[in-house]
Amino acid sequence: MADARSGNGTAPIMELIGVSKQFLETAAVRDVSMSVYPSEVTCLLGDNGAGKSTLIKIMSGVYQPTAGGLRVDGHPVVLSSPRAAQALGIGTVHQDDGTLPLMSVSRNFFLGREPVKGWGPARRIDKKRANVMTVEQLTALGITRVTNGEQPVGTLSGGERQALAISRALYFGARLLILDEPTSSLGVREAGLVLRLIQQAKARGVAIVFITHNAHHAMTVGDRFTVLIHGKVAEQFGRGEQTREDLINLMAGGRELESLQAALEELDQSSGTDNSWTPPTASGIKRMPPADPSSFPLTRSEG
């Protein structure tokens, strides 16, 4: 399952080599190898319980693999904590985006790394600078509606909060950005905003790992794809090597679903009733309203 050389000829930022993670009896991740390159979006896809969350927790230093290893910039590393991963330029934006709604945009942006001025007991947060820099960073990513750093985050939309979290990670030096389901709770336009941010981060040379259930979103921005089923790599391919429908089938478990669909159709015909409800299968999805044509309604986000 060795990864091909990156399309643009650069060396990978991070490599996973035969990574496994065992929780007591259960193997959450089994022998996964993948490489993440700068200026590329690597999509990590799979059903609930496929091991996506475990895998990104290994990549962001929350878990240590029970077998296999990680390389960053070609050197073997042990990511002992999220902080250690951050020090190597690995930034993670979790599904809940990590913002605090009752605090201001700039206080959120600089939380834990506040710029200060003054000495001794007079040392205080440089609010003016924090506000200016926050608005600057957001504007650079195309978020123009936030013009005041004092605005509480609770007034931002879900997409804007994701944008805040992403710009924060980038500002504090992330070269590899792990995005855990950033579009799963967003509407169509909001998801579009986040996808655009992913493109922008990619254009800056950042490597992105994009976890999603939404094959459409993945196909829009992805350069390479890894599909996990039951903790194992089911398929790895590059942009344009598979159709969207192939991808949806893969994510849903492929042949398992096809046989289920066949069984359901058989049942339908034998009962003879005109059932207007379409089972939410791969073919059913294509008939969904055009707003979000290929999101997968059977699956919900993994906590």
Partner: protein, 352 residues
């Protein structure tokens, strides 16, 4: 606080609601103590009209409610910070008694200097604060349980030690000279307690609004998990604030012992509720993550005015509790409204 959403007539319904939401939130976040301030002025005005003829407005009347507010306020400020960080401290009640009885035993019974008593009391406070803080930060136990236990342990020990050593729970205090001036001194009729309160309020307000520590306190109360992920040392925040509440309540115990010339391990239990009440009236969210020191100060003033003011109306002073109870309900409802407003995600947000 005008509700008029002027100039948004061309927006669809969701947009108008959203603009209104943003507008109210911005205003409240800029001045969340606005409502408390209005309440304080109204209540002062009420007692000025009703109790003015009986002396509420005189210097004596004023110092009477300032005195009530001051000692309570010294505890309420660190408690406010602690509650903003998402924890609670019930052990403040017994820490007041511990401070008080320490002064009694050391000065009145052992005939040592007041400073020695202060050092011993501070050491006890430090130990209790660290104990509370570590238990809350390191275990999943709720601060309510941890500090309820601490309150029992400290008050039980205070009584037992006081009885064992001196044979009484009301130890006379013997202090004089310069050291006593720090705790019992008057400028005109103004007690030194009021100046201590002012100083602590200024420091607390500065820390919360201006410093990194303040940012960390608010974030810890907002969501400890997210704060930790962002790099905030939430355990350190919690432990430091528990030390502050313990030190402040011990300090009030020392003030009372010197001012009333009696060391009493049972004094101060009423602060357990009163301090929490004024913090909540002051606009601090019970669940943490939001609040200001000015709000807490105004909440404390309201409490002082209401409880001392009723004395000047000639009515039954028990009505003070009724008034405070009503204010608390109003404050909590306002806070909940505010939080709902701030945490409701508007789905159809307009994007540039």
């Amino acid at each position: 606080m005008t509700r008029a959403a002027a100039g948004v007539g061309d927006e669809p319904g969701a947009g108008r609601y959203r603009l209104l939401q943003v507008r109210i939130l911005r205003r409240l976040v800029r001045a969340p103590e606005f409502g408390v301030g209005v309440a304080a002025v109204l209540i002062y005005g009420f007692f000025a009209v009703v109790g003015g003829s009986r002396g509420f407005l005189t210097l004596t009347g004023t110092t009477s409610w300032l005195d009530t507010a001051s000692q309570l306020g010294i505890i309420a400020i660190p408690l406010g910070l602690l509650m903003i960080s998402g924890s609670f401290d019930l052990s403040i009640g017994s820490m007041v008694g511990a401070g008080s009885v320490t002064v009694g035993v050391v000065t009145g019974y052992l005939h040592q200097g007041l400073w020695l008593a202060v050092v011993i009391a501070a050491a006890v406070a430090l130990a209790v604060g660290i104990g509370n803080g570590l238990l809350v930060a390191r275990t999943a136990l709720h601060s309510f349980i941890v500090t309820l236990a601490a309150n029992l342990i400290v008050s039980g020990l205070g009584l037992a030690i006081s009885l064992a050593v001196t044979g009484t729970t009301s130890v006379p205090v013997a202090v004089s000279g310069l050291s006593a001036k720090f705790f019992n001194w008057h400028w005109g009729q103004l007690s030194v307690s009021t100046f201590w309160w002012l100083a602590i309020a200024l420091v607390g307000g500065w820390v919360l609004a201006k410093t990194r520590a303040g940012n960390w306190i608010t974030a810890t109360g907002g969501d400890p998990e997210r704060a930790r992920r962002a790099g905030v040392m939430t355990s350190r925040v919690t432990v430091c604030l528990f030390i502050c509440t313990a030190l402040a309540s011990t300090f009030v115990g020392v003030l009372q012992a010197v001012q009333y010339t009696t060391g009493d391990p049972t004094t101060g239990q009423s602060y357990v509720f009163e301090a929490a009440i004024v913090v909540v009236i002051g606009g601090v969210l019970i669940s943490g993550g939001y609040g200001t020191i000015l709000g807490v100060v105004l909440g404390t003033l309201i409490f002082g005015i209401a409880s001392a003011g009723l004395f000047y109306t000639g009515w039954d002073t028990n009505y003070a509790d009724v008034l405070i109870g009503i204010l608390m309900v109003v404050a909590v409802l306002t806070n909940n409204f505010l939080r709902r407003l701030a945490t409701t995600t508007v789905k159809k947000g307009r994007l540039a």
